[in-house]
């Protein structure tokens, strides 16, 4: 037997590739980084030689402020998708949580931390209900969260009623200056506080997904539900937690957006297509629509790419519907590419 050990050890060596090469090859986000870099080169080139206002300081700083908001929500959507589930209700959660914070702060006069806790509780409740319906009642999350989407639209409509007109109306949101600069203030050049928060969320997301037991259970539950059960992973619990994380990141994004523009628009829950944006971002970023595969960095770059495409379409004055159509095409294209380009996954 000692003999065969020696043989096998010898056989092992030639097959071994350098570790960095293996890592790079297995690195899921590599495609999306290349695609996004190419897109940026084209856009900057076009701005240099043509009459195109993409690479202006003004536009770039708008973009740099918007990307983190979408990317933070995308991290939650991506973790959930790796766990094997969808959330179609994130635009509703985004809007409702912002409204709850604004109302409890502005109308009820609650202290900001308490108002934020109310927003957090709302997000957790939405995520928990999504998770319970999906994991315990066995309703596919696609259906369950569409139901939640309509439910949240109704609630947003209700809480946004303007007593004067009796119609849903946008609401002003003016938290303290300190909070505003902490959450969305400018730091240097186009770098804003929300960019730093995105890094914080990204790092936390990375450590949860790749270094924490919860992440291993997310990959296991999303990759093969039966195998997960067979090794004692509590699939229901993992999915419930993933739904809650998803709702909380959507809520954080909502509050961030409201703080940035000092306003919340009820129609964001219905017309923004934000849930599609977030799903497109993570799928473009290499997360498998079928669960079990994905990386945080890919989700973030995916969000940047989707927001950049949106930005360009606004610059060229394309009608809003073009973006929605393109989003659909991007999702389908990315799913196909993810399948064709092979299945990079978790090491």
């Amino acid at each position: 037997m000692a003999e065969s050990r020696v043989d096998l050890a010898a056989m092992r060596r030639p097959a071994e590739r350098p570790a960095w090469l293996r890592r790079l090859k297995n690195y899921q986000a590599i495609n999306i980084v290349i695609v996004y870099a190419a897109l940026l080169i084209v856009l900057f080139g076009w701005s240099l030689i043509g009459d195109f206002s993409f690479a202006t300081t003004g536009n770039l700083s708008v973009l740099a402020r918007q990307i983190p908001i979408t990317a933070i929500a995308a991290v939650g959507v991506g973790l959930l998708m790796i766990s094997g589930e969808f959330d179609i209700s994130v635009a509703g959660t985004f809007t409702l949580v912002a409204f709850i914070v604004a109302i409890t702060l502005g109308e009820f006069g609650w202290a900001l931390p308490v108002a934020l806790l109310a927003g957090l509780a709302t997000a957790i409740a939405v995520g928990a209900v999504n998770g319970l319906i999906t994991a315990w009642l066995g309703i596919p999350s696609f259906i369950a969260t569409i139901g939640m989407m309509f439910f949240l639209r109704g609630i947003v409509r209700f809480v946004s009623i303007n007593p004067q007109t009796n119609l849903p109306d946008s609401m002003a949101f003016f938290p303290s200056e300190g909070f505003k600069s902490l959450l969305t203030g400018q730091i240097v050049g186009p770098i804003s506080a929300q960019f730093v928060w995105l890094i914080v969320v990204g790092v936390i997301g990375y450590f949860i997904l790749n270094r924490h037991q919860l992440g291993n259970h997310m990959f296991t539950a999303g990759g093969n539900k039966d195998a997960a059960t067979a090794v004692g992973v509590n699939v229901k619990r993992v999915k419930l937690i993933a739904f809650i994380i998803c709702a909380v990141t959507a809520g954080i994004a909502g509050v961030m957006q409201a703080t940035r523009i000092n306003e919340i628009e009820p129609s964001f829950a219905t017309l923004s297509g934000f849930e599609l944006k977030a799903i497109a971002a993570v799928v473009v970023g290499g997360v498998s629509l079928f669960g079990g595969r994905g990386a945080i960095f890919g989700m973030i770059v995916g969000a940047a790419l989707i927001e950049t495409v949106d930005n360009v379409l606004v610059l060229v004055a394309a009608p809003e519907t073009v973006f929605k159509g393109l989003l659909g095409a991007i999702i389908i294209g990315a799913v196909v590419l993810n399948n064709v380009l092979g299945r990079r996954a978790v090491s």
Partner: protein
């Protein structure tokens, strides 16, 4: 190595039969819709034995294995560990009762690395639930080398989907053998293995039984069963047919019993 009926058995006549069973399942029933996968089945595992669980396709062997592993809920049935009632209603509870399983469908996550698969559900944890990655990486390879040393598994970072069927099966075997407690259930563990690896697994079963880990060996290969098992439990159409010690039967007789039911 050629197919042989030469026994790997320990010296005959161990007094296993008179001892208290290590584990007992009594009156186990399970229906899938109108298919009665198990009907009032009794099964026991004795100390220091390899018991062969035999029967035709669809006899209910895997269903029984999954129930004992806590991943399928029986409709009916009681379970005793060392004579005392025990709850095996979830994988964790079954594991606490000493049961570890190599599943017929292997139960690996294809999109995950070997290392993550080996530790899925029992990650070594450090502070705040973070995994001890270095320890996982170091022991994963050791575990693989120790039990079913198989060519082509070059790194614990390989994805299971990059492995052949036999390599994947070797990972599943190594995982279960490493984390074994008192009883190891093996549901057709060698179906994808080469002759050499199969021999290794048969030897492992014998060694485990000697060292106090009883094995339940599900197989369609009666030669293998006859070589390693101390006793045979035969099932047909979801029911017990008989339980017979190796000393009281022959390979031909076993074949007859299985064929005629």
């Amino acid at each position: 190595m050629t197919e042989t009926t030469e026994s790997l058995d320990a010296p005959a006549g161990r007094a296993a039969a008179t001892q208290q069973p290590l584990f007992e399942a009594k009156g186990v029933s399970k229906a899938y819709g109108h298919v009665n996968a198990l009907m009032d089945v009794d099964f026991e595992v004795r100390p220091n034995e390899v018991v062969g669980l035999l029967g035709d396709n669809g006899a209910g062997k895997s269903t029984l294995i999954k129930i004992l592993s806590g991943v399928v809920d029986p409709d009916k049935g009681t379970f005793l560990r060392d004579g005392a009632p025990v709850d095996i209603g979830s994988r964790r509870k079954s594991e606490a009762a000493g049961i570890q399983t190599i599943y017929q469908d292997i139960a690996l996550v294809r999109s995950m690395s070997i290392m993550r698969n080996i530790y899925a559900g029992r990650e070594p944890l450090g502070l705040l639930g973070f995994m001890r990655m270095r320890e996982m990486r170091e022991t994963a390879m050791k575990i693989l080398d120790e039990y079913v040393r198989i060519a082509g598994i070059t790194s614990p970072d390989l994805l299971v989907e990059e492995l052949s069927g036999g390599q994947a099966q070797a990972v599943a075997i190594a995982r279960a053998v490493h984390f074994k407690r008192d009883i190891l259930l093996l549901d057709e563990p060698t179906s994808a293995l080469s002759i050499r690896e199969t021999e290794k697994v048969l030897t492992i079963m014998r060694d485990l039984a000697e060292s106090g880990v009883s094995c339940v060996f599900v197989t369609h290969n009666l030669y293998h069963a006859f070589r390693v098992c101390d006793r045979f439990a035969i099932m047909s159409h979801g029911q017990n047919v008989q339980s017979v010690p190796k000393s009281e039967t022959t390979l031909n007789e076993l074949t007859d019993v299985i064929m005629t039911h």
